[in-house]
């Protein structure tokens, strides 16, 4: 039996791909900004600029939370063979 998710996946086979790419690009963006922050914080802390270190830390932590949070939206891997069981399966999360 087909459910909403399955028909969606069949109707839009590229969607998973796009979401995946989007998430990864977002994360790469966050990580690059974090590298930049870390580098700046290291240099500035040497000059005794404490607030720069603090600010970059807050920013970096926010970005870490964000890049872990977007993992929630990672699409489930598509099953190779459709579930054989007849009862409709509702996967517990993320389906609207």
């Amino acid at each position: 039996m087909s459910n909403f998710r399955k028909s969606q996946n069949e109707a839009h086979p590229n969607k998973t791909n796009t979401i995946m790419t989007g998430i990864i690009i977002l994360q790469i963006l966050f990580v690059s900004i974090q590298i930049w922050f870390l580098f700046g914080a290291l240099n500035n802390a040497l000059e005794g600029n404490f607030y720069f270190a603090l600010t970059t830390f807050v920013g970096s932590a926010l970005m870490a939370v964000a890049s872990i949070w977007v993992l929630r939206y990672l699409p489930e891997p598509l099953r190779k063979k459709p579930a054989r069981k007849e009862k409709p399966k509702v996967s517990p999360s993320r389906n609207p």
Binding site: I24, Q27, I28, Q34, L54, F57, S67, I68
Partner: protein, 173 residues
């Protein structure tokens, strides 16, 4: 979380697959999770800098320290020394002219190579990446170093050379 999905492969199986190809394959899901982890690690290390800056502030050098007898360092020469105490920071003492002394940290502010005084051009050189500092003020003249060399105040009394933490007044000059 929820109950084990009976159709899902148990994780021990996917962690140690039989086929080589599956073992070396990194899916985009795994990559995304790894990026999340990496991001967390960067945030942590940034936090570490903050903690370090809070818990272990650089404490200024206390008191005056005797270095060397003045006649042992002729004009135009440099003398390497360390101050007894916790941190082993190498310093150099430079006898610029008669009654003109300078003391700097010897660690280049770029990548902490040892700098040395070049008598002929009257500048301090870092040989690693050809950075040059003013022997008078420690300022960067050329090259990659981002900051001037940290300086100490020098006082000569009775033919003996002493150093102490740089005073604020001098810093603003």
């Amino acid at each position: 979380m929820s109950k084990e999905d009976p159709e899902k492969e148990p994780s021990w199986k996917s962690d140690f697959p039989i086929e080589m190809k599956r073992g070396t394959h990194v899916s985009r899901r795994e990559f995304a999770k790894f990026l999340g982890l990496l991001s967390g690690a960067f945030a942590l290390s940034n936090g570490f800098i903050v903690i370090r800056a809070m818990a272990f502030p650089d404490k200024p050098l206390e008191g005056e320290h005797f270095i060397v007898n003045a006649e042992e360092v002729p004009v135009g020469e440099m003398f390497q020394f360390e101050i007894q105490g916790g941190k082993h920071i190498p310093y150099i003492l430079i006898h610029l002219e008669e009654n003109e002394w300078r003391a700097f940290e010897q660690k280049c502010t770029h990548l902490t190579c040892a700098v040395r005084y070049q008598k002929d051009v009257n500048q301090i050189q870092c040989p690693c990446h050809n950075g040059w500092f003013s022997a008078d003020t420690g300022e960067v003249l050329q090259g990659p170093p981002p900051r001037p060399l940290p300086q100490l105040d020098v006082a000569v009394r009775d033919g003996k050379v002493y150093v102490r933490e740089e005073q604020e007044a001098n810093e603003n000059v």
